[in-house]
Amino acid sequence: MTDIIEAMDRILKDTDFVLGWTLDEDTGVAEPARFHSSEQAAQAVLDSTCVHNLAVHLPRLKESTVGIVAKGCDARSIVQLIVEGAVERERVKVIGVTCAAGMLDVKAIWRRHGYGARIDDTGDSLSVGGDRVDRNEYLMGKCRDCGAAAPVIHDELIEMSGPGRDSAPTSSGGSNDTTPDGTLALKQRFDAMPAAGRRAFWREQFSRCIRCYACREACPMCFCRDVCTMQTTDPHWAGGDTNARESEMVQLVRVNHLAGRCTGCGECERACPVGIPLMLLLGEQNNIIEEMFDYRAGTDLEAKSPLLTFDIKNDSWGGG
């Protein structure tokens, strides 16, 4: 852990505090924390349970100069936030982390083995509750085919220890199909569904939505938050009923508003209390955006999101 502690120490000199992770003693996994001093920085950890995308906090911290520890995928969110003007580059110092073997889907592990089951990851082997398990089965979906292990933005760069990847870490973005554990089969089934079947599938999924807005609040790009159009009363775009129809409206508007902006971090899906596979939709949309505009959100500080530059008069893909 010396790398992260030293990097944090250096970054602390130029910032008010650093967003990173510390160890939760109860469960033995990483939990997000703010580090204000060298003394606190000594408690920083960096391991395969640092699943949270801390970039979500940045738009709310405009008054401060903030240090942030960011994995490759998290760094994409920071880039996109800067591109959209939600975060000032000068006010954020990034401790980029080149991810080694991906993050563990802690939520999925605990749903299977019970909350708090001990996760012991030596890098070479992974065990849960004392039993050795297959790492591939317990990786976050987005980590299975990651092309974002190397952070595109960083003021410090450190490498996470762990087993090596087969190929060198890249920052091109990898697959958009970031479906977490247990939903890979679902993804294949979904792809084979006819349009009508997909509609029925989503109606069923959204019928469970309880409108807690955890998806929105956990999303680094949903920084409209408290002025979200889905909660305005005038105009009254979405009804307050928690039925499939209204929830579908809310969810699809959110997804559409993330077109060309979603960096595929999967936090919405991780936060959802009722397990709606939101990344199926967002991954598909990210594929479409890439196909149409050759654009991946959060991979280039100089790029503009296509839907923020679209000019109806110069419509080049067949419309009016």
């Binding site: 909350y115 936090e267 991780r270 936060a271 209390p273």
Partner: protein, 337 residues
């Protein structure tokens, strides 16, 4: 005590579902291991080895419910509004609650079951509550998020339950807690039993003594609350999965230009919009102030006003918090101030 054999369970569920709307913990398909209380369908086995992600509060406080519908009419210059109250609900049985879920119902009763006409008595709640039977499965195991042992009686808490089922080899020992529960286990699905109920689990415990007085004392210590809630995202995960959080919003939805419905739906004090006033002023503009209210309400104001702690230690808010915030750490932090 009576005994329910494992192989008699399905027949019992069939029987219960005949006369009532029967809800059981159900594994949801394509939902990453989510288990929630759902209307029972013949052929599905209740999930009894995992905790439900959502609590059972929706049986008493639906995520949205119609209070009444209204129709506006204008005839010969006369304006009128007709109001049609929401109809009756039927008998409901909740099978597979945990002691913390059942206790939560008792805790909510302290407010919503106040006599009609008193400040908080609530007709819709009362109607559903009087029609509700709760069959609880006693806990012989727990996980690291459970902390019901912090509260009087812990996992042996029987208030809110009509029947208590203790898991034993081959089935469950059944104890009738209320008359209604006693009648239920008097049925043919159960047999007499002399077996002793098993030891219940002991969960982690948080010292909550004195919080009622301490929380108002440290109300102005905003530095503490800011530090304690720094990672909170202000999402509704904790409040919406909590069995005792009951904040609600009342709003109208028009179904046509003259007809509409007045609805009540879940809301959360952790949301910015919950306290934002029409003027734009918000008395709780920061996450720290909102989370402080959540803790204050649960462990000080509600106990002071209603005589019950508004938390039963079910641990749902801990298991699922996307930011890894643990309410027990916050409570311990308050104690240490």
């Amino acid at each position: 005590m009576r005994f329910l054999a494992e192989e008699k369970l399905e027949a019992l569920l069939h029987l219960l579902a005949k006369s009532s709307s029967l809800w059981t913990p159900t594994a949801i398909e394509d939902a990453a291991g989510t288990v929630t209380f759902e209307p029972w369908k013949p052929g599905t086995a209740p999930v009894l080895d995992r905790f439900t992600t959502l609590s059972a509060k929706e049986l008493l406080l639906p995520a949205t419910e119609k209070l009444f519908s209204f129709t506006y009419s204008l005839s010969e210059g006369e304006e009128s509004v007709e109001i049609e109250p929401e109809g009756q609900t039927g008998e409901t049985i909740l099978f597979g609650a945990r002691a913390c879920d059942a206790k939560a119902i008792k805790v909510l009763d302290a407010l919503f079951m106040q006599p009609a006409g008193e400040a908080y008595g609530d007709d819709q709640y009362r109607r559903r509550r009087l029609d509700l039977t709760v069959i609880t499965i006693a806990c012989t195991t727990c996980d690291a998020a459970c902390f019901c042992s912090s509260f009087e009686n812990g996992p042996a808490e029987k208030s809110g339950s009509d029947v208590f089922l203790y898991p034993v080899e081959g089935g469950w020992i059944a104890e009738g807690i209320t008359d209604r529960g006693g009648d239920l286990i008097g049925g043919d699905s159960f047999t007499d039993s002399g077996i002793d109920p098993p030891e219940l689990v002991v969960t982690r415990s948080v010292d909550i003594a004195g919080l009622q007085e301490k929380l108002p004392e440290i109300f102005a210590n905003i530095d503490f609350w800011q530090e304690a809630t720094a990672k909170c995202l202000s999402c509704g995960y904790c409040t919406y999965t909590c069995p005792t959080c009951y904040c609600f919003n009342i709003f109208d939805e028009m179904r046509s230009d003259r007809e509409g419905e007045r609805l009540r739906g879940w809301d959360a004090c952790i949301f910015n919009l919950y306290t934002r006033e029409t003027s734009g002023h918000n008395p709780r503009p920061t996450i720290a102030k909102r989370y402080r209210n959540r803790i204050g309400h649960k462990f000080s104001y509600y106990p002071a006003n209603q005589g019950e702690t508004l938390c039963t230690g079910c641990g749902r808010c801990i298991r699922g918090c996307p930011a890894g915030l643990d309410i027990r750490d916050v409570l311990t932090g308050v104690k240490e101030l």
